[in-house]
Symmetry: C2
Subunit: 127 residues, 2 copies
Amino acid sequence: MSDLPPIPVTGPLIVEETCPPRRIHALLSTKWTSMVLYCLSFGALRTGQLQRSMPGISQKMLTQTLRELERDGLVARTVFQVMPPMVEYSLTPLGWRFVEPLRALYGWADDNCDALDELMDNRQRAG
Amino acid sequence: MSDLPPIPVTGPLIVEETCPPRRIHALLSTKWTSMVLYCLSFGALRTGQLQRSMPGISQKMLTQTLRELERDGLVARTVFQVMPPMVEYSLTPLGWRFVEPLRALYGWADDNCDALDELMDNRQRAG
DNA sequence: CGGGATCCTTCAGGATACTG
DNA sequence: CAGTATCCTGAAGGATCCCG
């Protein structure tokens, strides 16, 4: 909760299409990616558990998100050869690296509900 | 870059629809909102400057995003009665509060390009 | 239980043209 | 320069059904 004074810049700041901020935003702006990573940061989870952890996610979007995270090397998929089927998802070392900024962001949100409330109040009042 | 060991939980973690993490995600998941806030955190900017700061943004989306941020009370709009028109956008005190987690996130991205690169490499290899 | 395949809806967001 | 108004489409994402 520091003061964060404006940083004086000599020239205008340019946020290029491929700069790190834009890239991390592209990754996290999809609806469920960050939530899945966040949930898995509390421990490996089975598909059903994961779905129940995120009320509102459809079965299709859950699988799709997991497939993408798997492809990106952030999540590992472990299949247990039993009946009925049992699959477990966990973070890879690379995946763990992305947890740090996520926890920071969501931790901030938890600690600053009042800011979020204020925002919603303003939105209400405006229509 | 700490270790971030998994946090043991007694019951399953549930990320409710209205919990702070989901709310901050909803705000930042729109395409330009976070970038506008980020840019304005380096100083007040005029419309044209702002547009040039974010290559790729259309004039329509810029205005739309600014209107929403204004409505939410995160951005202030100052009109100077001159010809040609001159309008300046800046962060409100509430807006400044959201800059902290944003700078943290984007700062992390800047410091961890290699993680982002690794992710993209994995994605390429997978097709 | 996990998940593939389809179909369908929505709407974010881009392109364009016009006003003051 | 700043902003509004249309038009339009691509793609995200939800519902559903079926399979091992």
